[in-house]
């Protein structure tokens, strides 16, 4: 966690200013301003339909015609092409892990290294030795990363045969392999039981601790938010409702007022889905 005077001078990993997104007549985000420091894991919470996933989509360029500004370490990414944004280092996982079912877990993880693996299509035809060297190196890195997260025994398994929990974890590994400069996670623990949720939390802490990657995490499970994140951004109806350090926000009266119905309901669900 930060706290030195110098931090104020470092550009934020992600800064969003007056971001507004409308789909037809529906205003999904209204004038959202927030920033994520390079040291933090920030949770984005709020009831369904609050615009959390839209915020992530706007940051990584999947929402056309967003108004306002999105900056990544000072660089303006607003309405840029998603592939270009990804290449500047914005990584992302999806709520429903979009894996290539017919490929192995290792190949899926390597897919995330598309921008960093270091050879081109032409190389694949004319420079086979370079390709096999880079592939080998990438495979070793991917295997190491899977090992770090305790998933290496699944490396050769066809992704389509994985259960939901492992799928979500592989999606996160895939997003991490290219060492992004910021990682966006969309409900990484949804649909998981308590043990798997804990593992996701551990993964997030390791990504932050080992690789120093800041994260923006859309989450519903407050136990995970409390355990792992540093700050909380609360959205309601497309606007920022509260913002601040995790402990402070989650214990505050405002939080109980604005998020209460869903949040505590979810906490209860958390307790009962002890699979």
């Amino acid at each position: 966690m930060g706290g030195t005077p110098h931090d104020a001078l470092r550009p934020s990993a992600i800064e969003v200013r007056a971001l507004s997104v409308a789909f037809g007549g529906l205003r999904a985000l209204t004038d959202v301003t927030a920033s994520v420091s390079a040291d933090h894991i920030v949770a984005v919470i709020g009831p369904n339909g609050a615009g959390k996933t839209t915020l992530l989509n706007a940051i990584c360029g999947l929402v056309p015609k967003a108004k306002g500004e999105v900056r990544h370490y000072g660089k303006d990414l607003t309405n840029a092409h998603p592939a270009a944004i990804a290449r500047t280092g914005v990584g992302r996982s999806f709520q429903d892990p979009r894996l290539i079912d017919s490929l192995s877990v290792l190949e899926n993880v390597l897919c995330g290294a598309h921008a960093t693996i270091g050879y081109s299509l032409a190389d694949q035809v004319f420079r086979r030795r370079k390709v096999s060297k880079r592939e080998g190196k990438a495979r070793a890195e991917a295997t190491e990363l899977l090992d770090l997260f305790g998933l290496v025994h699944l490396a050769g398994v066809e992704a389509g045969r994985l259960a939901y929990g492992p799928r979500k974890m592989v999606d996160i590994v895939r997003a991490t392999i290219s060492r992004p400069s910021v990682l966006l996670l969309d409900e990484p623990s949804s649909g998981l039981d308590r043990a798997e949720r804990a593992r996701i939390g551990t993964m997030m802490q390791m990504i932050h601790g080992e690789f120093h990657i800041p994260m923006i995490v859309v989450e519903h499970h407050m136990d995970l938010v409390r355990a792992v994140t540093h700050r909380v951004l609360g959205l309601a109806s497309g606007a920022v409702a509260l913002e601040g350090p995790t402990e402070y926000v989650l214990d505050s009266a405002e939080f109980r007022a604005t998020m209460m119905g869903d949040a505590s309901g979810r906490d209860q669900k958390v307790a009962t889905t002890d699979v």
């Binding site: 990804a86 299509l121 398994v157 066809e158």
Partner: protein
């Protein structure tokens, strides 16, 4: 389907002897093809060599179409357009003075450009709408071919001088070896493309296009590359066919032809290396083999006259069956069967090690892409 869990249970690390690590799949297939060609050119009748040549020709385009549809997920029913394009471009280049094989190479380049153009609508259209757009490309190619043929030589069509000398049988045999080289080269090229970074990119575009761009994959560029490359290969098949048959008429390129190639890749199995070859063999042999089979059941048949109709019925049925029930095709079914055998073998070998829940953890199950 048993699901693989993580973490707590231990998985028996004893891997089965993975013979696929020893020799890459494509070289195995090339070796088998070599042996088949060697056998038939040495010992087969000239008719059987001719049939072999047709199979080899079909295999070229089938492999390309599988890269486009199976790996890349781009639905195209207009591939006959590029067969026609390749054939007519070869004729045109040949008449302009280019000798074999340069006229075919030129045709390949022309079709690459054509593929690039056809790929442009594919950037905005997908699925069944893309299928319609490729149908438009087919009619356009058909029209151009018709006009070109009509304006130059008329209904009789174009004729090309034979490439090889000797008797029909010797020519067929020479073709067999030439086509073997082309098939082998195509297979190697396509295997290089469908594995590694580009293979993963195309599959990601196929399965989750939006997520693909969020991963840094330039979707438009890869789609255009895919159309360009596959159209060039199909065009080369068209050009080689033109020389092989010796004549080109626009009405030999029909929608039925497109459908038959789709049948090949579906029967063989989408997104597989061996699938297009398996499919090419089966679909090409149908009109050859079916009349005899039917003759066993129906005494009165002029089955050979109706060979093409019987074939159409059969591969039409197979298209439906495989598309609906088994899109991984025969190649996929073999793989699944092999996996079952392999995992049962593993299970019995590892029975001493503690391996409780994950009984079906597939060892070496993922198709190893090279």
């Amino acid at each position: 389907m048993t699901r693989v869990m993580t973490g707590t249970e231990s998985v028996a690390p004893a891997r089965a002897f993975d013979w696929r690590g020893l020799i890459q799949q494509k070289y195995l297939i090339i070796l088998v093809t070599f042996l088949v060609v060697a056998y038939f050119t040495a010992a087969g009748s000239s008719y059987s060599i001719f049939v072999l040549d047709t199979i080899l020709l079909s295999a070229i385009g089938a492999m390309a179409l599988d890269l486009l549809m199976g790996t890349g997920g781009q639905v195209s029913i207009g591939n006959a357009a590029f067969l026609a394009g390749g054939a007519f471009a070869t004729v045109w280049a040949s008449r302009a003075g280019a000798p074999f094989p340069f006229d075919v190479i030129i045709a390949g380049i022309v079709c690459a450009v054509g593929g690039l153009i056809v790929g442009l609508p594919a950037l905005r259209i997908r699925g069944m709408y893309l299928a319609l757009a490729t149908l438009a490309a087919f009619y356009l190619a058909d029209f151009i071919g018709q006009k070109y043929q009509g304006d130059t030589v008329g209904a009789a069509g174009f004729f090309l001088k034979p490439v090889f000398t000797g008797t029909i049988g010797q020519q067929s045999a020479s073709w067999a070896w030439l086509l073997f080289c082309v098939v082998a080269a195509t297979m190697i090229l396509i295997s290089w493309l469908r594995s590694g970074r580009s293979g993963r990119a195309w599959r990601m575009i196929r399965d989750h296009e939006i997520a693909a761009s969020a991963m840094g994959i330039p979707v438009a560029r890869y789609k255009l590359l895919l159309f360009t490359i596959t159209s060039a290969v199909i065009g080369i098949q068209g050009g080689l066919t033109a020389h092989f048959i010796g004549s080109v008429t626009y009405d030999s390129f029909t929608l039925t032809l497109s459908i038959s190639v789709i049948a090949m890749i579906l029967i063989g199995g989408l997104d597989s290396l061996a699938g297009p070859l398996i499919g090419a063999v089966i679909v090409t042999l149908m009109p050859v083999v079916l009349p005899d089979i039917i003759g066993l059941f129906v005494s009165s048949s002029n089955a050979s006259q109706d060979a093409s109709n019987y074939s159409e019925v059969l591969y039409g049925l197979l298209i439906m069956v495989f598309m609906i029930k088994a899109p991984t095709g025969l190649a996929g079914l073999f793989r699944a069967g092999g996996r079952k055998v392999l995992s049962r073998w593993n299970a019995s070998r590892a029975s001493s090690a503690a391996s409780p829940a994950a009984g079906d953890t597939a060892v070496g199950s993922a198709p190893r892409l090279r």
